[in-house]
Amino acid sequence: MSVNKKRQRKIAENLFSELHQTPVLLGSLCGACDEHFFPRQDACAKCPSEDMQDVVLGSSGQLWSWTVQHFPPKPPFRSNASAEKFEAYGVGYIELPCGLKVESRLLENNPENLSIGDSMELKIVPFFTDEDGCEVLSFAFQRAS
């Protein structure tokens, strides 16, 4: 008898991946001016150049700013929870080792547990489920253990 494992898909390609079993964020590096970008870009907004390389940006960083989303957003926000069952979610900017700050959902929604400077690590988790039952995965950061 086969076990039905839930189908999963990424929310988008080229955002994140796994490297040696560790989730990593993907982005671009400009060959002309060494500026990093997230998400992946075809051209550099800084110099400008089209000499862009695909790079791994990292899997951990420091919390640069944070907030908690206390009200359910309207579409295009996707969630399987009704407005009444909405659960607040954290959002922040995480400063990666290259200096780039990436905007990300946080796996913490209690303001008491969020502080600028906290060490954070990347996780890939289901965010919502499609109508056909497929789980949609995206990236979020949680406080490093």
């Binding site: 970008f37 206390h70 579409p75 969630s79």
Partner: protein, 381 residues
């Protein structure tokens, strides 16, 4: 070079007027400005106007008269009013028109602004995953600013308190009930550190400003107000704006800083010369940050300035004397021109119960809008 005078101002009350379309509110404001200037619509040679949600501004001609004038629609988010005024100003400066109108109006649905990633060059996942909220941007920018410059949440409350106190003194405002410190401080958290009563609400309203070549201003008014500078600037790489999936390693100053500096230079004045200021207050933290970005104080100084009452109507640097966006709501197309309307009232001595004492003669308006546009105007009696 030609000097530009403001000779007519008009406003439709901000807030909610269910039985009037945004366009009708815009027309109301234009008619009031024309009456104020004793100018006929057929004598307006060029117009710039904008509305985000209430239709094309040039539809106003159907209500005011199809005279064949040059009418260009403007779309620059919350900086629409500032952009429209800048364009009208430039026409007169260049000598291509003797009279010009800047108009803005809007009628937004209830609740937070609903943005589509596609409109901003962003991928669908950014909206699906829950990042497409302007309130998040204000909160995230403010949270970092408070950390870097020692601003307390007490100061956020005080700014909102002042806004509603001033709104209560302003007959044209939407929110005319002063809220207590505790009502604001205990209102539900929306996006930390910002609570419900620290945010403006999308609303309705219209505002219109009539300009002319200063040499003919006497035909229209005995109290011309001179528009000494009208500047619009956009972001450089590395700024912290709305809807940014990432921020550059090296942060650069926001567009408000450059707009402000350039306006001072054009007008030949400095921050200390001003008597009344209208600074974009989409939420109370924005008013605080914009005080420093526009050069009126150092980063962090807002903490002592606001506590000491310096930004009150009778203070050393009155800010948002008509209640700002917090008390008037935010109809995007109109807000930038509401600020100009208010400064004109102040400089004419016509602001009634919310008049800045001491015969103010130099005023400043500042707007900021997505995706990183700032407009600054300097007005002088």
């Amino acid at each position: 070079m030609t000097d530009v005078a403001i000779v007519g101002i008009g406003l439709h009350n901000f807030g909610r007027t269910p039985n009037r379309s945004g366009l009708e509110q815009g027309a109301f404001a234009v008619r009031e400005a024309l009456a104020d200037a004793d100018m006929a619509w057929r004598d307006v040679q060029v117009a710039f106007g904008g509305s985000q949600d209430a239709g094309n501004a040039d539809s106003l001609c159907l209500k005011l008269g199809l005279t064949g004038l040059q009418f260009t629609n403007v779309s620059n988010g919350c900086a629409t009013g500032g952009s429209a005024l800048n364009a009208a100003f430039q026409c007169i400066k260049a000598g291509s028109a003797e009279t010009a109108l800047a108009v803005g109006f809007d009628k937004h649905a209830h609740g937070a602004f609903n943005a589509d990633p596609k409109d901003w060059g962003l991928p669908d996942w950014y909206g699906e995953a829950g990042y497409m909220l302007t309130t998040q941007f204000f909160a995230l920018k403010l949270q970092r600013y408070m950390h870097d410059h020692g601003i307390s949440s007490d100061t956020l409350v005080r700014v909102a308190e002042k806004a509603f106190r001033n709104g209560a003194l302003n007959e044209r405002a939407w929110r005319r009930k002063a809220l207590s410190y505790d009502e604001i401080a205990e209102s539900p958290m929306v996006n930390n550190p910002l609570r419900k009563y620290m945010f403006c609400s999308p609303a309705e309203g219209g505002a219109a400003i009539l300009l002319c070549d200063a040499r003919i201003a006497h035909k229209y008014t005995s109290k011309p107000i001179y528009l000494k500078a009208a500047v619009v600037r956009t972001r450089h790489y590395g700024t912290f704006e709305v809807f940014n999936p990432s921020l550059a390693a090296e942060q650069t100053p926001p567009p408000s800083v450059q707009a402000s500096k350039d306006a001072y230079e054009i007008a030949g004045v400095g921050p200390k010369d001003f008597d009344v200021l209208q600074l974009q207050d989409t939420e109370s933290g924005a008013e605080i940050m914009h005080m420093a970005e526009n050069g009126f104080c150092e980063h962090g100084e807002q903490e002592t300035l606001i506590k000491s009452g310096a930004t009150e109507i009778d203070g050393a640097m009155p800010v948002n004397t008509d209640g700002g966006c917090l008390a008037n709501g935010e109809p995007i197309g109109a807000s930038g021109l509401r600020q100009v309307y208010e400064v004109c009232l102040q400089l004419r001595g016509d602001a009634g119960s919310h008049q800045v004492p001491g015969n103010p003669s130099l005023g400043y308006t500042h707007v900021y809008g997505a995706p990183g546009v700032s407009g600054v105007n300097i007005l002088q009696r």
